[in-house]
């Protein structure tokens, strides 16, 4: 249930970016949303839509790209995608591994309108 808190973080970062880039408006924000981020994309979107109304980002469009987890096998070193637990390496059938992608949410791009 921390999607509100995350959406708030996004708004803060948008403020920072807007200032830094001296933008007039941020028209669109695109997120890479890891499936293992621990947050629900639908709830996140809802939270952002509600929170943005009180801000200068009323018109900012949100786009979410869901990112499949990418795991690096600790035994054979190969990487593989898997949406399911446990992580089973398809190459050497070892369990476990290190997540190298898909456990975080990143701002990937902004579409901005300049003066």
């Amino acid at each position: 249930m921390h999607e509100y808190s995350l959406a708030n973080n996004l708004i803060e970062l948008l403020r920072e970016q807007k200032k830094e880039k001296k933008a007039k408006k941020i028209l669109k924000v695109e997120l890479d949303f890891g499936k293992l981020s621990g947050a629900e994309p639908v709830l996140f979107e809802e939270a952002f839509e509600i929170l943005k109304k009180e801000t200068e980002f009323k018109e900012t469009e949100l786009k979410i790209n869901l990112i499949e987890p990418e795991i690096k096998c600790l035994k054979c070193g190969k990487t593989f995608n898997t949406p399911y637990f446990p992580f089973l390496c398809p190459f050497c059938e070892n369990f476990g591994g290190e997540i190298i992608k898909g456990d975080k949410i990143f701002i990937k791009s902004l579409v901005i309108e300049n003066f």
Partner: protein, 221 residues
């Protein structure tokens, strides 16, 4: 003339938390304070565990921060057992953030060697927030059922230690402890598991020894 452009960036949404957590870790390292973040569902027994654990540490070397949505109850319980503790009331937030810890560090006494952080009772949200800790403990308790690992993989994945609490209730429950251990190894091969009863005091000493060794190991290098 206005101009519309697209800019590719890569900023983690938790950037601010990550920066503060890093700052905190540097502060803790300088002061040689070993920090343990304890995460569990509500009612898994974190407060009782900390109360029992305290008896294996020198009281004046331990400080406890307790995160709670709105009451002061848990910190009070710990203080009654002779621990130094302070409650962070999160005002409705379901997890602790690095900034909340930062605001409380001035309360930590000079000679503190261990800081225990009792996170808000929740297995989902706290897992995403680095608090600058050195060790992350995930606790589950037998009455919650033996299906927690596949349900909340993120918490267990980010943990260094799993505590299975309330093992004294095993005879009365349908809880397959071997299955849980096996699943834990499949999520993270090198995760350390302790089967404890905070209420009866079973295996708490072993956990305390483990934590002490971890601190020694960490600050040796």
């Amino acid at each position: 003339m206005t101009k519309i452009i697209r800019e590719d960036i890569s900023i983690p949404i938790l950037k601010v938390n990550e920066e503060i957590a890093q700052e905190l870790r540097e502060f803790f390292n300088k002061r040689k304070i070993f920090v343990i973040n304890i995460i569990s569902s509500p009612g898994a027994g974190k407060t009782t565990f900390i109360e029992k654990l305290l008896s294996f540490f020198e009281k004046n070397k331990v400080f406890i921060l307790v995160g709670d949505i709105e009451t002061e109850r848990d910190a009070k319980r710990i203080r009654e057992k002779g621990g130094n503790s302070y409650q962070i009331v999160t005002g409705g937030t379901c997890h602790l953030e690095a900034i909340m810890i930062k605001k409380s560090i001035s309360l930590i006494p000079e000679n503190t060697e261990y800081l225990f952080i009792e996170n808000v009772g929740n297995l989902v949200c706290p897992a995403s927030y680095d608090l600058g800790e050195h060790l992350r403990i995930i606790m589950l308790s037998t009455p919650e059922g033996d299906d927690k690992l596949p349900k909340y993989p993120k918490a267990f994945l980010t943990g260094d230690v799993i505590l299975i609490n309330k093992i004294d209730l095993l005879p009365y429950l349908n809880f397959d402890i071997e299955k849980v251990e096996e699943e834990a190894k499949k999520i993270k091969e090198n995760i350390k598991i302790f089967k404890i009863s905070a209420l009866k005091g079973d295996n708490i000493k072993e956990v305390a020894e483990f934590i002490k060794n971890k601190r020694e190991e960490y600050f040796k290098s």
